[in-house]
Point group: C2
Chain length 348, copies 2
Amino acid sequence: MTKFQNDLFLRACKRQHVERTPIWIMRQAGRFLPEYRAVREKADFLTMCKTPELAAEVTIQPVDIIGVDAAIIFSDILVIPEAMGMKLEMIESKGPKFYDPIRTVDDVNKLKDIDPTKNLKFVLDAVSLTKKELNGRVPLIGFAGSPWTLMTYMVEGSGSKNFSEIKKFIYNQPTAAHKLLERISDAVADYLSAKIEAGANAVQIFDTWGGLLSQTDFEEFSLRYIQKIISQIKRKDEPVIVFAKGVHYKLDKIAEAGADVIGLDWTIDLNAARKSVGDKVALQGNLDPTVLYANKKKIKEEAVKVLESFGKGSGHIFNLGHGILPDVTPENAKYLVDVIKEESKKFH
Amino acid sequence: MTKFQNDLFLRACKRQHVERTPIWIMRQAGRFLPEYRAVREKADFLTMCKTPELAAEVTIQPVDIIGVDAAIIFSDILVIPEAMGMKLEMIESKGPKFYDPIRTVDDVNKLKDIDPTKNLKFVLDAVSLTKKELNGRVPLIGFAGSPWTLMTYMVEGSGSKNFSEIKKFIYNQPTAAHKLLERISDAVADYLSAKIEAGANAVQIFDTWGGLLSQTDFEEFSLRYIQKIISQIKRKDEPVIVFAKGVHYKLDKIAEAGADVIGLDWTIDLNAARKSVGDKVALQGNLDPTVLYANKKKIKEEAVKVLESFGKGSGHIFNLGHGILPDVTPENAKYLVDVIKEESKKFH
């Protein structure tokens, strides 16, 4: 059991008392940092994911540079479909591409079962190495995409405007869709268990595309499999965070699915969310990421509004409502971290 | 005063008794119809908008072909910024582009005031001509973009992934932003008044990008100006519909802003929405547009779920939760219309 110099993040996940609100930032190991871009110049994105030394280096950068209270391992949610046998390419400034997207049950059947300790050893090595180098300074978060979000990429093949292919797939081939979701769920559960085994102190499931679904479809095609994963993860007391972007409804059901923490985007009112989930889970979020384009006065004002909307007491992890944008200045990001460290004291 | 053969749509907007739920479909005058594509082959998009005969022709097509209960004038929300002096181009399969986006208060000052009866006469002529050709079969809807949504396009210059420019603009130049919103609001109010004068029986304000904003920003930068427009529109009893995509909160405030009907996307539960707005407004929506990719059994099932979620009584206009997608078959769209005409009877 690691003894942390700063375990505010973990205590907040468990709704235990904290002296101030912890903060980390989605995509904090990313392009907004010049130190990240310097590493990125030496290696392409997937090579960085697959080289534990590079992954560890950029994972730790935001802890050193902007002072966040947790690290999140540098990786990508699409390493899972790649490990299942899909050829993945990251196209500069366009995003990910699978050249052979899933369209039929045969395509689903052709996917391989994965053993994370073999197929995804590079991630586990990156986790162990990062843990060693962090040396107990802050906790380390592991993550994965939700089955629905991974399936969306696997079927669309790339980013999408209307998400027509994935919707055709679930409406016209629901059996194949559920089969695929089952297989992804098993892979994600094994993967997150292995990350915890390798040293991750918490895990976050990103359901980036949950908000594309109607409320009943969200329960059928996304939440059900998130629940399955949470029930299968092998863990001691490592918290599970569920971040379902655009999902503004049924937060109580996400809590019932076993999440310890619910991540919220910036369109949600934290106060209303807290009322609807009661004491069941902690909440993470939810400053509009574009507020970091503003001047410091405005950043402080909006950050304090988020603290106020959650209100007094523990169970809040400050974060943005979505990933930090690549053209935000590190100065503004660091300022946000400093503001939260100082201003949140009075809420505890 | 037009005597309609079918005024179900208008009665539902006013929450009066109807024998069945009326239906129309956002973007019904659009690419999914081969008859539309035939017209589009002869003229580019903006030429179609500016040629009353062509606009009238495609406006009436869905009334004839799929049997909807209202027509909506074929046009584009960006004719307003164009009339204010911004050079607009529609780039095939990429969307709209302004070559000289607004970035400073000087850019705002350079915009022209519009007189719809001069600068946008082509739309008014299209409305009059369509009314004549419809000859009272169904009501005709006019529309405009909300000030926030129009400003988003005017500042971004085109579609956007992160909407960085518009957010920088409102956070760093709020005075310029409010000045621009004021000017757009006046233009939109005059424009919608002129459309009603020309014969539109209802108007819809599209706030396509309302959902990009946090709840407080939505009130400050969007809702406030929608309210201003509604208070300025010259009308007798023509209903105003407000459709703010992604805005799942404060529906009661949209009702208080003076909307007669609130349009809802497919992530909203109609039953919960109805409870939150009470008897103040009618609701329009909200089938997931991608359900039209499914087979007929599924389409019927999901359409009935929407009827059920609103429940019994008047004040519901059936629609999709967003525009119909270009690769939906006319057969499925017509099937949806038929299903609603038949299945909704038992809710009244």
